[in-house]
Structures are given as C-alpha cells and as structure tokens.
C-alpha cells in the first residue's frame, strides 16, 4: 500500500493530468470568475481614466511558448481599448511573438471596424529592447522609420503627431520574461510613464513589488488574469473557457501531492 502511494508510475500522473484538462474543455461547465484587485485596477484605468482617443502602446513580449496564457489577455485588453475608442500602437520585443498576436490584432480590428493607420498601427519588431525603449523616448522614427511592412511612418495619419512617449498615454506590456522589468526601469522611471502588464504565471510574482510600489498600475497574471479581464469587459472567451480545466488540474496536482505526502509519512513511521 505504502509502495503504491509513494511510487505511482509517472505515466498514470500524465494520463490523469491529460484527462482532467481535456474533459472540462469538452463538457465546459460554467464557473464564476472572481476578479482580483490587480486586474480591476488595470481595467478601470483603461475604462475610466483615459479619455476616448487616447494613445495606448501595446508591446508583445512573448512567443508561442506562452501564447495560451498571453494571447487571451491581449485579445481582451485590445477589445476593451478599441471599444473605448483608444488608438493602439502595436509593437514588441520578441521577434517570434509578433506574428502570433498580429493575427489577433487584424482579426479584432476587422471585427470592430477599425482602420489601419487611423485607429491602430503595427510598428513591428526591432531588436535590442533597451535600444528601442530609449530611442522611443526621444523620437520613435529614429528606430521605427517604417511600419512592419516597410510603409514610412510619416505617411501613416495616426502617427503624424506621435513622436515619443509624451504623446503616448499608456503602455501595456504582455510579458513572458524580464522585458517588463526593463519597461519599468528604462521607461517608467526615466520618462515617468504609466503602464500595466499582462504576464505569464511564472513572471507575475516577480512584478508584485512594482505593483505595490505603484510603478505599475495593475497586473494581469496568467490565464486566470485573462479570464478576469474577459469577465470585466463582459466578453468571456478563451480565458473563462479554460478555467474549469485549470481548476481541475490544480486540484488533481494537489491530490497527487497529498498522496505523495501520505506515502512519505507512512514510510517514515514504519
């Protein structure tokens, strides 16, 4: 018995995890989502503090490895920003991530009747994130003389009066690594810019000190954060849809941990 508890075959664990994730996706039970203060503050800033037509810079700092966590929150935030009539500058520091979210950008913009060059613009990728961050503080044309397709920035109507952070009202980063900290240290502190982040679950705990110090306005952490933002804007999507699977998988892992510990305690007693 103790042996059984203490030495479960790893494939059994894999199988259980696979089932507890797949099954709720098929039957999709509905689960109420509680919205945390960190997400509420991010939402409220876009909703209440920014006048319609404000310029929001969205930075895609992730790639396919964290797509399931960050794309849902990018979609929710973008939908919200467009709905409020804000203008969006899309860029990013992760080369492999930009084409990923670009599809969502185009799809949402198309669905919401937004026009490229008027309501949003895609600056694309430029390497060296600190280079880009600092250059944009003076004149973004120094680094982005053209958009992602090589169209000169000066020929894009929305960009006519946008030269640096002074004309950008909010920065929202979607972060899978430490790029968010660079945003805070190089842009937030030097240019006194307001910003908040949507991050992977791995990154979120590291950003709490910045949230507590007020260096970032809000924090959307992991797929659960995406589900919270979707709930706030009244547009449930992949985040909310994934929560039952997330719940059952967490429960299953905790049960495995408890089983392991029971086995451990029994073995020690013996």
């Amino acid at each position: 018995m103790i042996e059984l508890l203490d030495k479960l075959d790893r494939r059994i664990i894999y199988l259980v995890i696979g089932i507890v994730v797949a099954y709720p996706l098929i039957v999709h039970p509905v689960m109420p989502i509680r919205v945390s203060e960190e997400v509420k503050r991010a939402y409220e800033f876009v909703e209440d503090s920014l006048p319609s037509g404000s310029v929001i810079l969205i930075s895609i700092d992730y790639d396919a490895a964290s797509e399931p966590e960050l794309t849902p929150m990018f979609r929710a935030v973008l939908t919200h920003a467009f709905r409020k009539g804000h203008k969006v500058i899309y860029m990013g520091h992760w080369a492999l991530g930009l084409p990923l979210a670009q599809k969502d950008l185009e799809e949402i913009a198309h669905r919401m009747g937004k026009t490229y060059g008027v309501d949003y613009v895609n600056l694309g990728y430029r390497p060296g994130f600190v280079t880009v961050m600092l250059a944009m503080g003076r004149e973004l044309r120094d680094i982005y003389s053209s958009d992602y397709q090589g169209i000169p920035i000066d020929s894009i109507p929305m960009m006519a009066n946008i030269h640096n952070y002074d004309q950008i009202d909010l920065i929202i980063g979607f972060e899978a690594g430490s790029t968010g900290e660079f945003w805070i240290q190089y842009v937030g502190s030097r240019f006194n810019k307001r910003m908040f982040f949507g991050t992977t679950g791995v990154v979120a705990p590291d950003l709490y000190p910045y949230y507590a110090s007020g260096q970032i306005l809000g924090l959307i952490g992991g797929l659960k954060g995406a589900a919270e933002y979707e709930t706030q804007i009244g547009h449930p999507a992949r985040g909310v849809f994934g929560m039952p699977a997330q719940s059952f998988a967490h429960l299953a892992i905790l049960i495995f941990i408890v089983i392991g510990n029971i086995g451990y305690i029994l073995r020690r007693r013996r």
Binding site: R11, Y14, I17, G18, V21, A22, L25, I26, H28, A65, S66, E67, P68, E69, A95, L96, G124, Y125, R126, P127, G128, V130, S145, S146, E181, F182, I184, Q185, Y186, G188, S189, R190, T200, G201, V202, A204, P205, D206, P209, A212, S213, G214, Q215, G221, G222, L223, K224, R238, F241, G242, A245, Q246, A249, H250, I253
Partner: protein
C-alpha cells in the same frame, strides 16, 4: 478553409502529437520534431533579424541619399565591430573579436548601473519605508494598512538579512535570518503555485488546439 490552411492544421497537429509522444518515452518521432524545431526557429531568427535590424539600421541608412554623410561615416564603427566579430572564424586573429565584445559588455554594465538604481533600488526603498502609518477615515482600515506596512518592512528586511553572508549567522542575525526564511519559503511557494498555473495553461492551449482546430470536437 483552403488547402494550405487545412494542410497547415494537420501538420501542426502531427507535430504536436510528435512532441507529446515524449511522455511515453524518448522516441525517433519526438527527436525528429525537435530537430525540425531547432532548424526552423534558427532560420526564422536570421530572416527576422536581418529584416528588422541590419536592413533598416544599416543598409537602408547607408543607401539613403537623404541620410547625413557624417552619420553614415559613424555607422562604419558598428560595421567594423561586426566584421571584427566574424574574425573568430580565423584563429590567428580571433582575439580581435574581444574588442566588440568589450564594447557590448561595457555598454550593458553602464546601462545596468543607472537603470537598476533609478528603476528599482530607489523606488522600492521608498515604497517600503513610506508611509509606515496610514491614516484614513476608517480606523480599522488605518490599523490594518499600517500593520501590513510594518509587516512588509519586516519581511523585506529579514529576507535581506538571510542573504547577508559577510558575517556568521549568530545571535540577532540568526533570529532575523530564520524569520527571513519563512518569508522566502512562502514567497517561493506562491511562485511555485503560479508556475504550475502557467504550465497547466499552456497544456490547455495545446489540447484546445487539438480538440478545436484539428478535431473540431469543441466550439
């Protein structure tokens, strides 16, 4: 759905299953997919880097008649540095590549020095120490917030004490570092919980792809 979309979905599903097959055991199918990934992503980086970096920063500027001649000449410096990097191919002169490396290291050090002080150390110390006592209309909230502020100061201080290795941990330092480890463990536990959450979300993403985009079992 056109042919390429359909083919793309099946290809993506095949590769997903190939990687997942590693769960059973290491096998040629997994190894094949893994090598495809390394090859494709390396080439992807080359194309994107040259398209987004070398072309606009160097080639376009050098060929642009409007770009000032002085600036064009300055661009020769990083170009020469770049060529120096390639001298690593020739063992006899490979040492020259240390020059551009020295430049990048010096730059990273110079930038980090000011950025960390301005962007982290100063604002975080400020946020930790002020305000210790919070006064609001509700005395209970004031008490709670003030207590929590003191709790955070205590946590930050004892955590730093735990990592202070210049003196042997005895007496008060020992007590402080013991309390520090409590905060650290709670912090690591929370990070671990979040990491599990993140990994499960990634799996949800892949299973969603298989069930939705490939098999069409779910909406």
């Amino acid at each position: 759905m056109n042919f390429f979309d359909l083919f793309g979905t099946w290809l993506a599903a095949g590769l997903t299953v190939a990687i997942l097959s590693f769960l059973y055991r290491d096998n040629p199918l997994y190894k094949f997919a893994e090598h495809i990934y390394v090859g494709a992503s390396a080439a992807f980086w080359v194309v994107i880097f040259w398209y987004s970096d070398v072309k606009p920063m160097l080639i376009d500027r050098a060929l642009d008649p409007q770009y000032p001649l002085g600036e064009k000449l300055i661009l020769l410096i990083p170009t020469i540095f770049g060529i120096m990097m390639l001298l690593r191919w020739f063992p006899k002169v490979a040492w020259i590549s240390r020059w551009p490396i020295a430049f990048t290291v010096g730059m990273a050090a110079g930038l980090a020095l000011t950025a960390t002080v301005q962007g982290y150390i100063v604002p975080q110390i400020k946020a930790t120490l002020f305000p210790v006592v919070v006064i609001t209309k509700d005395p209970l909230i004031s008490l709670w917030r003030s207590l929590m502020n003191i709790f955070v100061i205590f946590g930050v201080f004892t955590t730093i004490l735990y990592f202070y290795f210049s003196k042997e941990h005895t007496g008060l330092l020992k007590v402080g570092s013991r309390i520090g480890i409590i905060f650290i463990m709670v912090g690591f536990g929370a990070s671990f919980g979040y990491t599990i959450m993140a990994r499960i979300s990634l799996l949800i993403g892949r299973i969603y792809f298989l069930l939705h985009s490939w098999l069409g079992v779910i909406d």
